[in-house]
């Protein structure tokens, strides 16, 4: 029951880019297309889940004073693994994401979950927490990417939506479009959840 709750809270209640407002750098930078958002989200999910599990496993072994250094070592190792695997099997995605793949190391969601959750909880709960937050992040990035791609390029996952006569609203795929779109989504989420609480 508790484990299930740890999983689901990352999907809505604590969904990283909107509720925690963490990890905004990749959220804004790679969501020019739905593909990019999905790829970045899944890569982050992998790193987050693995590092959460490992940090939870080692939580009684790691001395408090050097815990951050240990977490960063663990996270950085998984990021390098993701980077190598992505280059080996999804090269076009790797070229699209570019520098943002190694930058997963400094995504504060990952260090945040390691410090705030995994370092104090059992392995199974940490696994659920990592998966939940990772998938929540993936969902948010994919939706954001899809919205920006539909309006900014007239396509979704590379497939044309409006036909050849559509004049793309290029603002949406530019950096300011990312902020505007993120703000609108945050606002929409607040309206929806306010209704629930009341």
């Amino acid at each position: 029951m508790k484990v299930l709750q740890d999983f689901t809270k990352g999907l809505w209640q604590d969904i990283p880019p909107f509720r925690l407002v963490l990890g905004l750098c990749p959220t804004l930078a790679v969501t020019t297309s739905a593909d990019g958002g999905l790829g970045m989200g899944l890569a982050t999910t992998f790193v987050l889940t693995c590092s959460n599990v490992l940090v939870a496993l080692l939580r009684n072994l790691i001395p408090r004073k050097v815990r951050i250094a240990c977490y960063i070592l663990v996270i950085a190792s998984f990021v390098v693994i993701v980077e190598l695997l992505m280059q080996a099997f999804f090269y076009p995605l790797y070229m699209f994401l570019g520098i943002f793949v190694p930058l997963i190391v400094v995504n504060c969601i990952i260090l945040g979950r390691a410090e705030a959750f995994a370092s104090k909880r059992p392995v199974l709960n940490s696994l659920a927490d990592g998966l939940g937050h990772g998938l929540g992040f993936t969902m948010a990035l994919t939706v954001l990417g899809a919205i920006r791609e539909v309006f900014g390029a007239g396509t979704i996952f590379g497939h044309s939506v409006f036909g050849p006569n559509f004049a793309p609203f290029a603002f949406m795929v530019k950096p300011p479009g990312a902020f505007v779109c993120l703000g609108l989504m945050l606002g929409a989420m607040n309206i929806v959840s306010r209704g629930k609480v009341d």
């Binding site: 080692l58 072994l61 790691i62 001395p63 004073k65 050097v66 250094a69 240990c70 070592l73 663990v74 950085a76 190792s77 390098v80 693994i81 190598l84 695997l85 280059q87 080996a88 099997f89 090269y91 076009p92 070229m95």
Partner: protein
Amino acid sequence: MREITRMIVVLTAISVVSGLVLSFVDRYTKEPIEYQRLKFIKGPAVLAVLSGYDNDPIKEYKKNVVLGKKGGKPVVKTLFPGRKNGKLTGVAFEVTGQGYHGSIGIMVGIDLINNTLTGMRVMTHSETPGLGARAVEPSFYEQFSGLKPDEIALSDKGGKINAISGATMTSSGVVGAVKQAMELYLLFKDKILKALGTG
């Protein structure tokens, strides 16, 4: 004192394990990455620098052909052959030039019949955007097509290449590397033909 020992031991242990795992992953992914790089980065450049071929140069490539020695150093190149009706007409290979911000990876295509350049593309570089980075633009690379060996030089040195304005270092680095590629080709033409099979 006990605490500091523990910190050192734990950090060292994590680093060692991490290093071991990463070296294992690196070894396992080395070959797939090399193939993907070839396909997505070098592939388009190879097809662009060769001309008048009807085969698949990327599929028929010869990896790490030892051409001989130059200046005491062994010359090893990966060759991409261009064939027309089964007859070898051109070859593409990679050279490295020295730019303003580190090395520049260049693919060069050579016509085996007339001993001229068929094309040149800059594949990897870290030059300044707007200046040296303009080496990837058609206005620069198109100047290289069809040049004879002695024409490969900047125009102020008696050649036919106009430098990119504001990026002399990049321009001369690229031109130098292309010239060096042509010299290597002329020096080792027999070896290249032999490795690819004159067919």
